[in-house]
């Protein structure tokens, strides 16, 4: 099975390349890149870690599979002693006091973080343009956006600046940029990977996940990062996805795959994406797969539900940023005026829009008719998923309604929100979902019931045959 991690592991273990040279080469590529994916390079610490690996190899010791493998971290994760800016002016000089659990698990396996990656500020965006570090550029066409919010991470993987990257996905922030840059990106079941040390955007849908060029690497990374964590009460233990899952091919005549007609009826769906998706369904039928059309919620309703709940949660989560204990601080004539000045000057327009929207829905008069109603509707979404997975094994959908837009062209916030139409529903349901490259120009989204990532990976492998 193809795997960048296995390839690098073998080269370093065999002495074909030194870990130090490998890390230097990757950092050099990041420094010279025009894609603007790096907020902070971790050169000094990465080279220190690399020299330890080289020393181990020189003395004839065996190294672990991830030992010496260079990777990227979206700049919303904490890594002790290093910057964690959330791509914001507010936290541009903030240093992480501790390390996120998911990242610590990778460090424990010997993987080497080399870059904190550009993203939309606090995860607020779908293009990596809403960032204090300047917009990142698509890996395949630098005139286009890379997607977001984990845009820098997806580009780094696509350009092979990193072997893999770790992103955060609240409503599609791993899956959409993975699709825009033609790599794999997994949003696991909510809670499978601890959120401790990931800066909170919307805590009820925030997920940590891997971005990579191969399915095998997604499997390896999922297994390393998963598990219950004392620091995140929503986390749970899950059995590892076995190594041999790709050996036995799935049989089409034993598969039931659902797709949502409401997604295909979305008026803004790109004609090419629709045609490619329908063509994929035909090929699945040719492989004897039972393809089942299903009704689902209107995509505008899903987007509204997601953004209303997300805004309410981000307004609460970002209330802690007031310039008192950390981050930038501006002073004014009174304490309250100081808070307002600090927040007004250091949040981007998009972040302010979401905080204000969140406070609106949580305020008197709005909370019942909007916030609580959206929560009730979310319960219905989850219940519908539960019913539908009694009928099908997998739900398949395009990742995005549109192709990646040109940099600077998307100025209407509502248009940006609506571009998340196909990803947000699965976030509301807490379901595991993978973007696989191919199928359509921006990839295919594969979703399974909760905790069944194994099913997704097997199906993604099967899809390669169908392509």
């Amino acid at each position: 099975m193809e795997s960048e991690i296995h390839k690098i592991h073998q080269s370093v273990q065999d002495g074909a390349v030194s870990c130090t040279d490998l890390v230097k080469q990757k950092i050099d590529m990041l420094e010279k890149s025009a894609n603007n994916t790096a907020n902070f390079l971790l050169k000094e610490s990465a080279l220190q870690r690399a020299s330890i690996v080289d020393q181990k190899v020189k003395t004839g010791k065996k190294i672990g599979l991830l030992e010496g493998v260079p990777f990227g971290i979206k700049d919303v994760f904490l890594l002790q002693g290093e910057h964690a800016s959330a791509s914001s002016a507010f936290l541009k000089n903030y240093i992480s006091p501790y390390t996120a659990t998911a990242i610590q698990k990778l460090l424990d396996e010997g993987a080497i973080p080399i870059v904190k990656e550009n993203c939309d500020s606090f995860g607020h965006g779908s293009s990596t343009e809403n960032t204090a570090f300047g917009p990142a550029r698509n890996a395949l066409n630098e005139d286009l956006v890379p997607g977001g919010s984990s845009g820098g991470s997806a580009v780094n993987v696509a350009k092979e600046y990193t072997t893999f990257s770790i992103g955060g996905d609240t409503g599609g922030s791993i899956r959409q940029p993975a699709g825009f840059n033609k790599v794999y990106g997994l949003k696991p079941t909510y809670g499978r990977i601890s959120r401790y040390g990931l800066m909170a955007y919307a805590s009820s849908t925030d997920c940590v996940g891997p971005i990579s060029k191969s399915l095998e690497d997604i499997r390896i990374l999922l297994n390393v990062m998963s598990g219950k964590d004392l620091h995140d009460q929503t986390s749970f233990d899950a059995p590892p996805v076995p190594e041999d899952i790709f050996k036995e091919k799935l049989k089409g005549d034993k598969l039931k795959v659902g797709f949502y007609t409401s997604f295909l009826e979305n008026p803004s769906l790109d004609a090419g994406i629709k045609k490619d998706f329908l063509s994929l369904l035909t090929r699945l039928k040719d492989h004897k797969v039972d393809v089942i059309p299903m009704e689902f919620f209107d995509t505008n309703l899903l987007v509204s539900m997601y953004y209303i709940l997300g805004m309410a949660e981000t307004a609460s989560n970002l209330a802690r940023l007031d310039g008192i204990n950390y981050g930038e601080r501006l002073t004014a004539e009174s304490l309250k005026a100081g808070y307002a000045l600090t927040r007004s000057e250091n949040f981007t327009e998009e972040t302010k829009r979401r905080i204000i929207g969140g406070n609106q829905v949580l305020s008197q008069g709005h909370s019942e008719e909007i916030y609580l109603k959206a929560r009730g509707l979310r319960n219905q979404v989850s219940a519908r998923f539960e019913q539908e997975f009694k009928l099908v094994d997998i739900i398949l959908s395009p990742v995005t309604p549109n192709l990646p837009p040109k940099l600077g062209s998307q100025n209407d916030p509502l248009e940006m929100y609506l571009s998340d139409a196909f990803t947000v529903g699965f976030s509301l349901g807490g379901l595991p979902t993978l973007t696989a490259p191919g199928g359509t120009e921006t990839g295919i989204q594969i979703t399974a019931p909760k905790r069944q990532e194994e099913k997704i990976l097997k199906f993604a492998n099967f899809l390669k045959e169908v392509e």
């Binding site: 002790q80 953004y307 950390y326 309250k336 100081g338 204000i356 929207g357 305020s363 008719e369 807490g430």
Partner: protein, 91 residues
Amino acid sequence: MEKIMPLDLLSSIKGASSSAAVNELFKVIQQAIPAEDGTALLESGDDAPVSLDELRSDEIVRSTQTEKEIIRQNFPGEKNGYLVVPKVIED
């Protein structure tokens, strides 16, 4: 006593006002018709991210010395070894 707080005060953002884009999202929810079964609870009841039986005990976990030092470094104001707050409220 009921008191309506303006958005700029609620958000601590100067000149905060509602946005047309966000208002469009509100409208969609206001007009949505929920399913007849109201809350539509899950059959499996597994939507809660954590079971009440699995909550950990509420105990203090001390920060390490390194963590404490970085937290101090991150404080926005310092003078003569003291952390400086923007305003001292005396009453």
